[in-house]
């Protein structure tokens, strides 16, 4: 059994967890969009569980259907079963720091499997997730029913944001198939010469910052700017792709620190703490964001080439 076949087993498990979320979304009488939300998780669950037996055309149609559901505001988190505060408090006193143990197992075991076996990083995450869950259940003496509800609650709370990264990666595939990267590269190279390593790095990092500021989302900027600038201007010139990805993404985060478009991070605290200055958080972040940008440009230049 090779790594890819093992990975399929984990995709089936993911599908099952999503179907749990679907069942509970359908049952959530307080959610005005319970049918849409239930369908959303059901479709995703089916794609993960049995998608490999379906034609790609059908998967494509299902994705479009999810897009329409989301556009019609028919996917909502709904009412989640709240954590029992009293029980949590009591168990926190009893278990204390041990509550972090399963997370440490997850992180360490997935790295170990990825580094020291032929199974690869993804299977590593799968195995480590299952082991960590079993450890958590033993530690907390959680039974199957509690675990079921904990799982569906977490999945539902993630909502549509959870599937956004995968959709953005899919968009990257379309961009590649349509030659979008080649066109942007050609356009930009009319202004900036391809082949100058430092210029390529500066262009990519600064574009990540600017586009993240406009869009308010570094993941979305990453999909677009890496295809258009990162790959043709740096990776195709011999730059290390892992360095370009890692530092490119964190350059985008410098943009997140400086934009009111990233409301979750920069406006939410203003509202939570009733601050007088709407841009107060951003003002505290700008000096660090700009310093980190300069440092990251230097780092990428020296690490990538």
């Amino acid at each position: 059994m090779n790594a890819n076949n093992i990975l399929e087993i984990f995709y089936v498990l993911m599908g099952i967890i999503m179907i749990f979320a679907s069942i509970e979304s359908f049952r959530d009488k307080d959610n005005s969009a319970r049918i849409g939300t239930g369908l959303f998780w059901l479709i995703l669950g089916l794609i993960f569980a049995i998608g490999r037996y379906l034609p790609n055309l059908v998967i494509g149609l299902l994705i479009i259907f999810i897009g329409i559901l989301s556009l019609m505001k028919q996917i909502k988190v709904g009412k989640l079963k709240e954590v029992n505060k009293e029980l949590a408090e009591k168990s926190a006193k009893k278990l204390g720091g041990w509550l972090f143990f399963p997370s440490i197992i997850l992180a360490v075991l997935s790295i170990l499997i990825s580094e020291f076996t032929k199974l690869g990083g993804q299977v590593g995450i799968g195995i480590a997730s299952v082991v960590a869950l079993i450890v958590a259940m033993i530690l907390s003496k959680a039974d199957a029913k509690t675990t079921y509800h904990d799982s569906e609650r977490m999945v539902r709370s993630v909502g549509t944001a959870g599937i956004l990264p995968q959709l953005l990666a899919t968009l990257g595939v379309i961009f590649t198939a349509s030659g979008v990267g080649d066109i942007t590269a050609k356009t930009i190279s009319g202004i900036f010469p391809v082949g100058n390593h430092l210029l390529g790095v500066v262009l990519y990092c600064v574009a990540m910052v600017i586009f993240t500021m406009i869009m308010g989302n570094a993941f979305a900027a990453f999909a677009v700017i890496t295809a258009g600038i990162g790959v043709p201007f740096i990776v195709a010139q011999g730059g290390n792709a892992a360095v370009v990805a890692a530092i490119g993404m964190t350059s985008g985060y410098c943009g997140t620190l400086m934009t009111p478009m990233a409301a979750n991070f920069n406006s939410l605290p203003v509202a939570l703490m009733e601050m007088k200055d709407n841009l107060g958080v951003i003002k505290q972040q700008v000096p660090i964001a700009l310093s980190l940008l300069v440092i990251q440009i230097i780092l990428m230049y020296f690490l990538a080439f």
Binding site: Y11, M14, I17, M18, G51, G60, L61, S70, L71, K73, V83, L87, A88, E89, A92, L95, G97, L99, F100, P102, A107, S114, G121, G126, A128, S129, S140, D150, V155, G162, Q166, L168, T170, L171, G172, I174, F175, A177, S178, V180, I183, T184, T187, M215, F219, A220, A223, V224, A227, G228, A242, A245, A246, T256, L257, M273, G280, V281, Q284, L299
Partner: protein, 220 residues
């Protein structure tokens, strides 16, 4: 008109900037890009379907959710709050730095704390205000500054350490996007090259926060 193919980029930029429904915007951008490139509708749908299947690894973090749900319902957040609230006799800047260290380390293990809601407002902000007002009572402007710095510290720690966790959606997205663009990179190598920025962030934000204390140390 080959430039028409850039329509997907335009849709993404405008859609996100105008806060339209994100899922619908991405799906529309994918459809539009394929169609203006001269593909038939069934061909575009097939590529979207195949692209989604080939990128399933990006969503692998869903597998970690049941474990997180179990420890959460058994008081993980309460345990973290109990730990942090034991901190005593530190200046505001040092409280921020200790929290920054905790935030970066927990991030590296994929322990997602909802920092602003769970820690900054109820815990770190009042602790820092108490510490900063030992010598002089705080002015309204200073209170606002402390709140802002507390929130900023959470963002610094959260952003620049999250890619140290191999199963984070960011790391998975990077590996998968690079693969789609024809360059295979391992998730471990992305984690490895995320370490320098996490360390540098800790150092410069640490210095920034220590200097912050000087704002409250002036004798009037």
């Amino acid at each position: 008109m080959e430039y028409l193919r850039l329509i997907g980029i335009i849709i993404i930029i405008l859609g996100f900037a105008f806060k339209l429904d994100t899922i619908a915007v991405v799906v529309a951008a994918a459809l539009a890009t394929g169609l203006v490139s001269g593909m038939s509708i069934s061909h575009v749908l097939t590529i979207i379907g195949k692209g989604f299947m080939d990128n399933r690894m990006v969503s692998l973090f869903f597998l970690t959710l049941p474990m997180i749900g179990v420890v959460e319902s058994h008081g993980m957040k309460q345990a973290a709050v109990n730990g942090i609230s034991k901190i005593k006799n530190l200046s505001a800047g040092k409280i921020f730095n200790l929290y920054l260290a905790i935030r970066e380390i927990t991030d590296a293990f994929g322990i997602a704390l909802s920092g602003q809601v769970q820690f900054i407002r109820p815990l770190i902000n009042p602790m820092a205000q108490a510490a900063a007002s030992v010598k002089h009572p705080l002015t309204e402007k200073q209170v606002d500054l402390i709140k802002a710095r507390a929130a900023a510290t959470d963002n610094f720690g959260n952003f620049f350490a999250q890619n140290l966790f191999i199963a984070s959606s960011g790391v998975l997205l990077m590996a998968s996007t690079m693969k789609s663009l024809g360059h295979n990179v391992s998730t471990t190598s992305i984690v490895l090259y995320s370490i320098p920025v996490a360390v540098i962030t800790f150092v410069i934000v640490g210095y920034y926060n220590i200097r912050f204390d000087k704002k409250f140390d002036i004798d009037k």
